[in-house]
Amino acid sequence: MPTTRRQFLSLAGSITVIPIVTLRPLEATPAMLNTVIRNVVGEASIRTGKVKLDIPPLVENGNTVPMTVSVASPMTADDYVKSIHVFNEKNPQPNIGNFYLNPSSGRAQISTRIRLADTQKVVAIARLSDDSFWQVIADVVVTLAACTEEVN
């Protein structure tokens, strides 16, 4: 039976009620990245949302890239962010850092400076106190210095 427009809309409406499991962006990333993410997340599903990744879309130098990850969370004793995990797609190693928080953190936000070897995706995943995982993916364009010196 062909799907009418009305049926499609009702289907689409019902989808918003069911939590959407978004694994699609991860499929686009290399297997190595997927493996290390699975090492942290296990079999749990990763949802998109809650996590914000502040990183310059066009970085001035890939050797030192400022980055801030924040997670929308009340940070109370029964609803807080346990940890934040940051990964990259194209460095020699996919891990960037793991950051462990607790309710007394007050605010689920960390900043650091990272190295990005090339234009690539950066993935930040938060583990909440209910052991749900939330992620955000950012595309970062890395430009290189025009006049690099000889390697010492």
Binding site: T68, N88, N95, S105, R115
Partner: protein, 105 residues
């Protein structure tokens, strides 16, 4: 090794305060080679911990993708006057510490 710590000297009880730390370290990735092709061995800080009056309030695992002279900023709730202790641990037995005090009113 030099470290720069930014903790507010004073805070009101219950305030959420930002703590910023910067420490000297080369963070040699272990993926670079010298001109004659020899691999430069990895030499990085692998772990950072912050304790507030003895209790761990923040911890991080660092990887070669963290830039040289690691910078970390994080938050905590000001609960009582006392001392923040910072510890960096790394390859080749590397260890360094720093501390800062806070007055909570």
């Amino acid at each position: 090794m030099a470290a720069l710590i930014n903790v507010p000297a004073k805070a009101k009880r219950g305030d959420i305060i930002e703590i910023r730390t910067l420490t000297s370290h080369i963070m040699e990735t272990g993926f670079r080679r010298t001109m004659d092709g020899a691999l430069v061995p990895r030499d990085i800080i692998t772990s950072f911990t912050c304790r507030y009056n003895g209790a761990e309030i923040f911890r991080a695992d660092l990887f070669p993708a963290i830039a040289a002279n690691p910078y970390l900023s994080f938050f905590t709730v000001a609960k009582e006057s006392g001392k923040f202790e910072f510890e960096w641990i790394g390859d080749n037995g590397y260890s360094s510490t720093a501390s800062a005090s806070i007055t909570v009113e």
